[in-house]
């Protein structure tokens, strides 16, 4: 018998734990506290104990009045979202990559409008931090008209590139509510212009990290604070305008909420905000009860950590028990420690909303109450990263893959339920973002990128194809600036053989091709995933959307060709890559690059992902395949090879007999090639990816997670230290 040395007695194997123990230990942020950062406030229960004002108003809540009030509240918040979009200058804010929320006095989100679901869902963190640590601190305090800024992801932001403002709302001298607004600003003074630095070693290269900071009083900015913030970024004018846009939204939300106080009284408004959360929670539980009890699993993979490529395993186990959902992410790859792809627990939980709110909770009013029946547990790993120094700039990328995995699991729960109408393959997720830095056409400093990235392809639905250039995985309500307007003027051509195939096919994403013009050079960086391993997953036999290359043509003759009136320029990425009509040095790379210079005449291709398919390709209506060929989405070769659809000579109609024969041939081939499961697994389990794919993976195939009980006790750390006292 071996006696375990005392130093190792506290080691526990996560895989051997039961689900409830994993929830107790890892159902919270494992990140370390820091100045201005308190993980405890990030995992508070959904609804805090009621305030006196909320209790006082509870009896006055007539259901009809409440319904009218909530409708009004949502109009106020939607209006705030639109105002933010229209007043902002940063491309992503104009695209609607933002969130606006109204919170109870204790920081529970009672209503939101997005943009990106994440944003508004995370603001409870800074609000609760201020309430816990600053209200009674005589050097900070809290007063009507105060303005707080924050962007630190560990304080409750998303990544440093997203900037937020929040303000308390007082009524009759009492704290009634909070309002918050913000979104993707981009330029934050990080290593590369516009943010998104893929090659960082730690968080200290990701620009400013502002924990809740009072930057104004009496609804006005403090000049010294504002100038400090603006001096820290490359685009002070843009950031200044966007700060003012956020303030305008907060002030407007506050005014409109106070108008409701005049009309209905503060107790009613306070109690109404609280009741809206309770109602959402109740309806969410009732909804979950409709699904079959069981465990639904998926496993998805990242193929990069930015600074280096490698597979990252992200498993999702969705447990449905009665009226509760438990998301367990045990078995994820370890925290890489370098690169920007670390995810924190609170971001993972907020990310789960992007999967669940529009599908599982379809039709329910969005508030933090929808999280009441949901628990998320993740042992220390890339998805619940503990280290203080870890970069999180692309944690949102990791979060997106979590969204894909959770959707795949949830769809398996949704299909046999009264809510089948929510069943769809996920939106395309392989995203390539390119940022440019330098001098713009008016001599102004620029640092940022085009926001058309939001125009990705929709995944196929259970009864319909996915839409082209439709939107954004983070939020099915986000805008992309103008594809429809652009399409009215310049009809689009679709890339061929890139969308996910299936009984219903995924939508094709928008592609931009930039020719650098009128500038000696711009610095550029790009960040993305999905070049070696596509994550635009299909559903129930549908194939994924294509992988995502980054293409640059250096020293091209594109401008000369255009000046000469060439009428045979490539009209799609495939045509560009296959035919090479443009001469120059073609670079096909993985999505991440930093500190590259693009020069006059260079061509930069920015392709977005395409949605996954749904169901078996052989069940696609041959007429729909013929239409896809006519639209240029599918080649005749793929139609025959993969869909088994043969067109009559001339291509105007389907050759029904030849199609039936070809499909019978493919079915026979499946039976010939397919092997019984045990035989297949016997061979398959002997294989593994090349070593360079496993550098950041952990043990293959399932990373072993052994924790030290003393480092991760069941009871979490008790708040923050006295960092400066």
């Amino acid at each position: 018998m071996t006696v375990m040395p005392a130093s190792q007695r506290a080691l526990l194997d996560v895989a051997a734990m039961g689900l409830d123990e994993r929830i107790a230990r890892f159902g919270r942020p494992l990140m370390r506290p820091g100045p201005g950062l308190d993980p405890e406030v990030l995992h508070r229960e959904v609804l805090e104990a009621p305030t006196e004002l909320e209790l006082a108003g509870a009896d006055s809540l007539d259901p009809v009045d409440l319904e009218i009030f909530l409708h009004k509240l949502d109009s106020i918040i939607d209006d705030g979202r639109d105002v933010c979009k229209y007043l902002s200058m940063a491309e992503m804010l104009q695209a609607g990559d933002l969130g606006v929320g109204i919170f109870t006095a204790k920081g529970d989100m009672a209503g939101m409008s997005t943009g990106v679901i994440l944003h508004a869902l995370l603001h409870y963190g800074p609000v609760k931090y201020v309430l816990k640590h600053y209200v009674d601190d005589p050097t900070v305090g809290l007063a009507d008209g105060d303005i707080f800024f924050f962007n630190d992801p560990d304080a409750g932001g998303v990544h440093t590139y997203d900037h937020f403002l929040m303000m308390p709302v007082f009524a009759g001298g009492e704290l009634l509510a909070w309002v918050a607004c913000g979104g993707h600003q981009g330029e934050t003074g990080s290593r590369s212009p516009g943010g998104w630095s893929p090659e960082i070693g730690s968080r200290y290269e990701e620009g400013l990290h502002i924990t809740p900071l009072r930057v104004g009083t009496d609804s006005r900015f403090h000049t010294d604070h504002l100038e400090f913030l603006l001096n820290s970024v490359r685009t002070p004018r843009q950031n200044s305008l966007d700060m003012k846009a956020r303030l305008a939204v907060c002030v407007r939300l506050r005014q409109q909420l106070l108008r409701e106080v005049e009309r209905r009284g503060a107790p009613f408004v306070a109690a109404g905000l609280r009741q809206s959360i309770k109602t959402s929670a109740e309806l969410a539980r009732r909804r979950i009860s409709n699904f079959n009890d069981g465990v639904y699993r998926s496993v998805v993979f990242l193929d990069t950590i930015g600074i280096d490529d490698g597979l990252i395993r992200l498993p999702v186990e969705l447990h449905k028990r009665g009226d509760e959902l438990i998301i367990d992410m045990a078995g994820a790859s370890p925290e890489p420690g370098i690169g920007p792809f670390h995810l924190r627990w609170h971001l993972a939980r907020a990310a789960s909303a992007a999967a669940l709110f529009p599908t599982v909770f379809r039709g329910l009013r969005w508030s933090i109450g929808l999280f009441d029946p949901i628990k998320l547990t993740a042992p220390p790993s890339i998805v619940n990263a503990p280290s203080r120094d870890s970069g999180t700039g692309s944690g949102s990328h990791t979060g997106r893959v979590v969204v894909q995995g959770l959707l795949l699991a949830a769809m398996r729960m949704l299909h046999d339920s009264p809510h089948r109408t929510g069943v769809a393959a996920p939106f395309a997720e392989n995203l390539l973002l390119i940022q440019f830095g330098g001098t713009g056409q008016f001599g102004n400093p620029i640092a940022g990128g085009p926001a058309n990235g939001n125009a990705t392809g929709q995944g196929a639905r259970f009864d319909l194809d996915g839409e082209h250039s439709a939107g954004f995985f983070w939020a099915m309500v986000v805008d992309c600036p103008g594809p429809e307007e652009q399409e009215r003027k310049f009809p689009y051509r679709f890339d061929q053989d890139v969308c996910g195939l299936g009984r219903y096919r995924g939508g094709v994403g928008l592609t931009d091709c930039f020719v650098i013009h009128g500038t000696p050079g711009l610095s550029s960086n790009s960040v993305g995933t999905g070049s070696r391993f596509t994550k635009n997953y299909g559903l129930f036999g549908g194939y994924s959307g294509a992988a995502q290359p980054r293409i640059v043509i250096r020293g091209s003759d594109a401008k000369e060709l255009m000046a000469a009136g060439a009428d045979d320029l490539p009209m799609s990425v495939r045509e560009l890559a296959d035919r090479r009509r443009i001469s120059g040095e073609y670079v096909f790379g993985h999505p991440n690059s930093e500190g590259e210079t693009v020069r006059d005449g260079d061509v930069v291709v920015l392709a977005r992902g395409c949605g996954g398919g749904y169901g078996d390709v052989l069940e696609r209506d041959p007429e729909a395949v013929r239409a896809d060929i006519a639209d240029g989405i599918t080649s005749t070769e793929s139609a025959t090879q993969l869909y088994g659809v043969v067109l009559a000579p001339g291509g105007c109609r389907v050759d029904v007999e030849a199609t039936e024969a070809r499909r019978a041939e493919i079915r026979a081939e499946r039976k010939r090639l397919g092997r019984p499961y045990p035989d297949f697994v016997a061979d398959w389990s002997q294989r593994r990816p090349p070593p360079e794919a496993l550098r950041h993976y952990g043990e293959f195939p399932v990373p072993v997670q052994v924790i030290d009980d003393r480092e991760y006790p069941v009871e979490p750390h008790s708040g923050t230290g006295a960092w400066h006292r």
Partner: protein
């Protein structure tokens, strides 16, 4: 909850039914038995490992990075009905990664 396959069968995914009384997986298209519902339905399927370049057409000439996943990093595992060859599911996996037991119903609760 939505019983649209008839004869006491529940349609769990597009082409996969659960026969609630016998607690067995059944092909929705041809009725082929796919084994006990307490186990992974994939164990009753024919399985094939496909090179991703057959589905995700590479550029011509091929490039190191293109629209196709890298065949050493990513494989497409396909699951067919032994009766009618309908494809129930595909998984995109690194070679050798275990097959996902994606649906494990609480059969007592599902009834």
């Amino acid at each position: 909850m939505v019983t649209d396959s008839g004869a006491g069968r529940r349609r769990i995914t597009e082409a996969l039914d659960l026969d609630a009384s016998s607690r067995r997986w059944v092909c929705n298209r041809c009725g082929h038995d796919l084994g006990p519902a307490a186990r992974n339905y994939k164990e009753g399927c024919l399985v094939y490992d496909r090179d991703p370049r057959e589905i995700h057409v590479p550029f011509d000439p091929p490039t190191e990075f293109g629209f196709n996943p890298h065949p050493d990093w990513c494989r497409i595992v396909e699951f067919y009905c032994p009766g009618c060859a309908v494809m129930f599911d595909v998984e995109y996996l690194p070679p050798g990664h275990p097959i996902t037991h994606d649906i494990e119903l609480d059969l007592d609760a599902v009834g």
